[in-house]
């Protein structure tokens, strides 16, 4: 019995017990459903073993949406707790756990897989490739992310959630002040999914550099592909820093080392520095692909090619360099000299310049265009003013002298939500609506979509703009309650109402999916938006080999040229197509990783050793395996092309 005591929750509450029951029932329902409908084989053959970039993209998408709701529930609970002064809905410990998991889930397990979903699905199609460079590695990336996410999410029912904030600063995150295994979960779950991100980085860079269709030079790549390339270069640069920081944090907690402790020479500020050397570029890893999606959408629905292509590319490259030179602006108040504060102030403000260039380029793309106000376009147009406000408050925060007033207040919370929600979340929803017909063969309902957009925008403004005011008045972030005398009550109530409206908007997205599955017309062809780039030149649903014939590229918008200017997109003849085989290895390997992570969290060493051996056994098996892939014959290709719409030969 003693062995099992470690799995108990340190601060149980009825909500958590209820969650346990719900989780158990859901798992039973899924297992029973799969068995009853005899779908185990289908699940294994078509999804768990797949190496197809499109299916992996869809799995990222589903995971990201699930995590969006998980993180969203955290957010609602926080706003509910703060809605009135001296509220007793949550105690301090629960509040700590909830803001910690909200941050981690939203950044690492929602935003990251969301952009990976689009990178995986869209980039190979945009560059005219048949798959990514390393399809099986791609599956491993996904399953590592998935297992990391699952490991993190079971923390609140087994052993307790992390409670030291998503930044997990030491010494707070050390054993002395964070006794439960929660922070172990943080260190190890992020480590596992971070490995997956690094592999995606390597995969995407190789794919984009080496597998572009004939004629597509670097300066003819679609903007989303450029954004993906730059974002993945940042991933490869900074994720190893996180790997090392997390490893050292784990060692401090489990092996009693002294990297970040207050004794024996340890240095807590080293963690803060390493964390933000990864953490700040991380937000650009999220925002650059979002910019890429906006570029595609604004160009399509303005019926014009993108204004200032070269300056768009240059500004992304400049942002990526600057993103690695600004990390110390996260702790201006934590004891550095005036000289280094000034340096980081200036580099931070400098980022506003290339970002401003991009904003103007989008505006000039719309200038004199024939604008169609579709749902994706609404998100993109809404993004520009809202994101600009977030950017301007960022420049305010960048001034190190003034930051002594803003630091760790709700002003900061308002700022980064003001960039991430209109920047990343709007882009993801715009991209979801825009690419939905390519992924599933029907459109999402426009009317419900427009309702969603307006509710989300209004809810967002109501939820976050009051925080600027309470922040300037001195409401600290991460405080679980405040007294009535502070006068923060009314504004926080408005925030709560705003959060409620946002929740309705997200529920509407689910309803929209349901409604569109039932009522949307299916005869929309493969190019319903009248778009410009190669991903729309494929059939819908996209065959597993993407393009029967490699497309020939002449400009940044080859598909548009093919439709309007008589450019011949597919000049070659059909040939047999080489494709990789499916494999169960990635799923099995990453399941072992899950066991490894779980036993590490609870320091069950025999199991750690056993699963480590299992991981290396998988790698060795892979090394000795002979797998040359398979060929799809010309007849099969012809048959598939006819079935999915023909005309692409």
């Amino acid at each position: 019995m003693e062995f099992f005591e470690r799995f108990a929750i340190p601060h149980p509450s009825p909500v958590i017990y209820a969650s346990m029951v719900v989780i158990a029932l859901t798992v039973i329902a899924i297992i029973a459903g799969l068995t009853y409908f005899k779908k185990w084989g289908y699940l294994w053959r078509e999804w768990l073993t797949t190496v197809d970039h499109k299916r992996i993209g869809l799995m990222y998408l589903i995971s990201a949406l699930l995590m969006l709701f998980r993180g969203g529930v955290d957010a609602i609970m926080m706003r509910a707790q703060l809605a009135a002064p001296d509220n007793k809905l949550l105690d301090a410990q629960h509040y700590n756990e909830i803001f910690t998991t909200h941050g981690v889930v939203m950044i690492i397990f929602m935003a990251m897989p969301f952009i990976f979903a689009f990178m995986n699905y869209i980039v190979p199609l945009q560059i005219g490739a048949r798959d990514v460079a390393f399809p099986r590695l791609n599956a491993i990336s996904f399953w590592l992310f998935f297992m990391g996410a699952m490991l993190f999410n079971i923390s609140f029912v087994i052993g307790g959630s992390p409670d030291a904030g998503w930044t997990s600063y030491f010494p707070l995150a050390g054993n002395e002040f964070s006794e439960s295994v929660g922070t172990n979960y943080y260190m190890i779950a992020i480590q596992i999914s971070g490995l997956g991100s690094l592999m995606t980085g390597i995969n995407m860079i190789t794919t984009i550099m080496k597998m572009r269709a004939p004629g597509m030079t670097m300066m003819k790549m679609p903007m989303f592909t450029w954004a993906t390339l730059v974002a993945n270069l940042i991933i490869v640069t900074v994720f190893p820093v996180l790997t090392v920081a997390l490893a050292m944090g784990t060692m401090d907690r489990l092996f009693a080392t002294n990297f970040f402790t207050s004794a024996n020479g340890g240095m807590d500020m080293l963690w803060a520095n390493l964390f933000w050397v990864w953490g700040h570029p991380e937000v650009y890893i999220l925002i650059l692909p979002a910019f890429g999606i906006y570029s595609e959408i604004i160009s399509t629905f303005s019926s014009k090619n993108l204004y200032g292509y070269k300056s768009m590319v240059a500004s992304m490259v400049i942002i990526s360099v600057l993103s690695c030179l600004v990390w110390a602006h996260h702790f201006f108040t934590m004891g550095q000299g005036a000289a280094s504060n000034s340096f980081f102030s200036i580099t931070t403000m400098a980022i506003a310049v290339p970002t401003g260039v991009k904003i103007f380029n989008w505006l000039f793309t719309m200038w004199r265009g024939k604008i169609r106000f579709t749902v994706p376009m609404l998100y993109s147009i809404g993004f520009i003013p809202l994101f600009t406000i977030g950017g301007v408050t960022g420049v305010m925060l960048a001034m190190s002298a003034a930051d002594y007033q803003y630091h760790n207040t709700m002003f900061l919370v308002a700022h980064f939500h003001n960039t991430i929600i209109p920047g990343v979340v709007f882009a993801m929803l715009a991209g979801l609506t825009y690419y939905w017909p390519k992924m599933f063969g029907f459109m999402l309902n426009e009317r419900i979509g427009k309702w969603t957009f307006w509710l989300l925008s209004i809810g967002f403004v109501l939820a976050f703009f009051p925080m600027y005011i309470t922040g300037l008045d001195g409401q600290a972030r991460r405080m679980y309650t405040y007294s009535e005398a502070t006068g923060f009550g009314t504004l926080n109530m408005i925030s709560f109402i705003g959060a409620g409206i946002m929740a309705i908007a997200f529920a509407l997205i689910v309803y929209n999916v349901y409604y569109s599955i039932r009522y949307s017309p299916r005869d929309i062809g493969s190019d319903p938006w009248d778009a410009r780039t190669l991903e729309w030149a494929t059939n819908t649903p996209v065959p597993e080999y993407n393009f029967a014939i490699s497309p020939q590229v002449n400009s940044i918008q080859p598909f548009w040229d093919a439709k309007k200017k008589g450019h011949v997109l597919f000049p070659d003849k059909l040939d047999k197509i080489h494709m990789p085989n499916n494999s169960g290895m990635p799923f099995i390997l990453c399941s072992i990783f899950f066991v490894w992570g779980f036993s590490f969290v609870f320091a069950i060493w025999p199991l750690v050793i056993l699963s480590t051996i299992g991981i290396f056994a998988c790698l060795a098996l892979r090394s000795f395996e002979k797998d040359h892939g398979r060929y799809i014959s010309v007849e099969e290709v012809k048959e598939t092309e006819e079935k999915t719409g023909g005309a692409k030969l």
């Binding site: 490869v236 640069t237 340890g266």
Partner: protein, 198 residues
């Protein structure tokens, strides 16, 4: 699979080219990994708490032997790749085996060195300095250990399947990895040991 005979065997197919390119990107990530470890070490180098300093525990002899072993192994694997390009399977396997033996020797000395440190009171938990020292050295050592198993499995595959585009590709990538570990060691030798002894 299309084989381009104008290229060396390891570059002869499309997938081979992708593999080598991707591995270079991976090495870029590895550079960042070790750069972070070095940064940590330089930050914590003089924060020795109640434990010993670098000058008190470093000894030149075993470190010099380790250096010679690893540098030689890097040279030998270069000979191995040269033999592979000439199509001489037997010579290649011999050179690769010598490489791994030298690597094993290196590892033996490093384990001996670690035991010695723990013995004289410079263990992982002693101070921030010892933690960062042993983590940096240990990460490099773990890479060498992994390399030994990896190299062994490649030797077995070359032995069994001969020099094909696939095995040549694997061998070449492994040699890149091995040279990289050598480069890291040169930095460790210069900036951790020699600088620490001054």
């Amino acid at each position: 699979m299309k084989i381009d005979h104008s290229q060396p065997l390891e570059y002869s197919t499309g997938q081979n080219n992708l593999n080598i390119f991707g591995f270079w990107i991976f090495l870029g990530a590895e550079i960042m990994l070790f750069a972070t470890l070095f940064t940590t070490f330089f930050t914590l180098e003089h924060r020795t708490g109640n434990g010993p300093t670098g000058a008190e525990i470093f000894e030149i002899t075993p470190v010099l032997i380790e250096t010679i072993l690893l540098l030689t192994s890097s040279f030998v694997i270069g000979l191995g790749i040269h033999a592979m390009r000439l199509g001489n399977k037997k010579a290649m396997i011999t050179f690769f085996s010598i490489t791994l033996l030298l690597g094993l020797g290196f590892l033996g000395f490093e384990i001996f060195e670690f035991v010695h440190y723990v013995h004289i009171g410079a263990g992982l938990q002693t101070s921030a300095f010892t933690a960062s020292l042993l983590t940096t050295l240990g990460t490099h050592g773990a890479h060498v250990t992994f390399g030994l198993f990896w190299g062994l499995s490649i030797i077995l595959q070359v032995k069994k399947r001969g020099l094909t585009p696939e095995t040549a590709n694997k061998s070449f990538i492994f040699s890149l990895y091995w040279h990289f570990l050598d480069v890291v060691w040169i930095f460790i030798f210069s900036f951790i040991y020699l600088k620490g002894m001054m």
